[in-house]
């Protein structure tokens, strides 16, 4: 979707611009969409998802005939088939990437004892051998640091902030550019507040530079991530019970429904006592809420969200 197109009859020019990024399958003005004065909104559908991504990346926030374009995805305009092929493409892409990785490893391996599809490596030994393979893939000289595993300290050195690291304030949006769909871009939009207050903002700037030379020669493999044990332990215990007990109430008919109710008014028996229960509950909650002084609402920190 392209917003901010000056209403001066430049639809053709807009589509020509879009066509630079790939074949346009269809387009139309979106009269139903709110638009600022003297601007128009267009829906542009590309034949290929990659074209759409390129167009969004290149055209968003660019000036166009005196106005500034705002380009974002609109998954709500997808058809079922569009959604399906999007997901299938994504799955195929992942499979291909996984196969490439396996192939890469197999090429480097020389009678390696470790299976390439080993599951979560829970021993440092396994992690080390994997890293061995990784470093073998690299032809760069600076990796000589990684080949010595004899003694590693418990913690990696704190990430160095190098002068040549580019620093974009919108670093959070970078991964979204790779997304084939919009399922997760909403996350980042709220996170564009200045990250200076947070200690890791420096590390995140590492990502911008493709040639980062991390001066952390110590393999971090020995530092294990220890997750919060509470839920993890519970779940590990439940692992054995999973086939039996967790699904009895899922399949129960009179048990709580999965999923929220439909938006259309449900057909209710207005005489039902349980309705009163709900109402009294709501009323008492409202009373409680009303009596509490304004708590800092969650929405406070979320600025008017720009669709990305």
């Amino acid at each position: 979707m392209v917003q901010g197109v000056p209403a001066i009859g430049v639809m053709t020019e807009l589509i020509q611009l879009c066509a630079l990024y790939g074949a346009v399958e269809e387009y139309r003005p979106l009269d139903e969409y709110p638009a600022e004065d003297f601007t128009e909104v267009y829906l542009v559908k590309f034949q290929k998802l990659t074209s759409a991504r390129a167009a969004k990346r290149r055209m968003d926030e660019k000036s166009f005939y005196g106005g500034v374009l705002h380009v974002c995805y609109v998954p709500e305009y997808e058809s079922v088939e569009d959604t399906r092929s999007k997901l299938l493409d994504r799955r195929r892409y992942i499979m291909r990437a996984a196969q490439n990785k396996v192939r890469e490893r197999e090429q480097k391996e020389t009678g390696n004892e470790e299976p390439t599809t080993s599951k979560t490596a829970t021993t440092s030994e396994k992690i080390i051998s994997r890293r061995d393979r990784m470093t073998n893939n690299d032809n760069r000289g600076e990796n000589s640091n990684f080949s010595h595993y004899s003694g590693f300290p418990l913690l990696p050195l704190p990430p160095q902030e190098h002068p040549y690291y580019g620093h974009k304030t919108q670093h959070g949006t970078i991964p979204t550019e790779d997304k084939m769909g919009t399922l997760h871009n909403a996350i980042i939009n709220t996170k564009q507040q200045p990250a200076q207050g947070l200690s890791f903002s420096q590390t995140s700037s590492d990502r911008e530079s493709g040639t980062e030379q991390r001066l952390t020669p110590n393999p971090a493999s020995v530092v294990r991530f220890v997750p919060r044990t509470t839920n993890l332990e519970n779940r590990k215990r439940k692992k054995e019970d999973v086939p039996e007990d967790t699904h009895t109430d899922v399949s129960g008919k009179s048990e709580p429904l999965i999923g929220p109710k439909l938006p259309e008014p449900p057909k209710l028996d207005m005489e039902d006592e349980s309705l009163n229960t709900t109402v009294s509950l709501i009323r008492s909650t409202m009373k409680q809420v009303g009596s509490v002084p304004d708590i800092k609402p969650v929405e406070k920190k979320i600025k008017p969200r720009r669709r990305i």
Binding site: T120, D138, P175, I187, S204, T211, L232, T246, E273
Partner: protein
């Protein structure tokens, strides 16, 4: 844009830093931001293995039962991404992931629900016997209701789920069962009803 470097060890270390940050910080906002970053990083297949090694799969699963709705949304998003990877998929299934994810179908947040549906679709593709529970009648009925939703995204995803993850007979059966319950959506009827 971060070039897909072949420096796997750098990636691993960086991701580990993030994970450590998440564990160490007490500030909820900071946690949210790290979690969002991790969830987004999970989109890139080159990171999936590292995240798996760092037990981030479990981390995301942990988030699904949090009170903070942002935690749930981002955790669910991360799982949605990771569940595309067969090995992560298996881990999720082993850790009772189906139940945790189907619970997210009740979330008030559309993004959470969308991620949950997509995750279920990914899990259903697993050859594991556990994945058969994904097409339990209750889940199908939920998807049937979603397929009638006002939200196009919800409608589309639910429709794809029903078409691709279930047999026609399963869906028909669920539809029949649903018709018997139409008069009291989510509200128990009195005994003599």
């Amino acid at each position: 844009m971060w070039r897909k470097s072949s420096e796997g060890s750098d990636r691993f270390e960086y991701l580990q830093t993030l994970v450590t940050e998440f564990q160490d910080t007490d500030c909820e906002e900071a946690k949210e931001q790290v979690l969002a970053n991790l969830a987004n990083f999970a989109y890139d297949p080159t990171n999936m293995e590292h995240l798996r090694q760092l037990q981030v799969t479990d981390l995301f699963l942990d988030m699904l039962t949090e009170d903070n709705e942002n935690f749930v949304e981002f955790g669910m998003g991360g799982l949605c991404n990771l569940s595309m990877d067969p090995e992560c998929r298996e881990l999720i299934l082993q850790s009772g992931g189906i139940r945790l994810v189907t619970d997210c179908l009740s979330s008030q947040r559309e993004e959470t629900v969308l991620s949950a549906i997509t995750t279920l679709m990914n899990l259903a593709a697993a050859p594991s016997p556990r994945s058969s529970h994904i097409t339990d009648p209750a889940v199908l009925q939920c998807m049937l209701r979603f397929s009638l939703s006002e939200s196009p995204r919800l409608r589309n995803l639910a429709t794809v789920f029903l078409r691709d993850c279930c047999g026609e007979e399963q869906v028909a059966r669920a539809e029949r069962q649903m018709q018997g319950q139409q008069s009291a959506v989510g509200i128990p009827l009195p005994k003599d009803g």
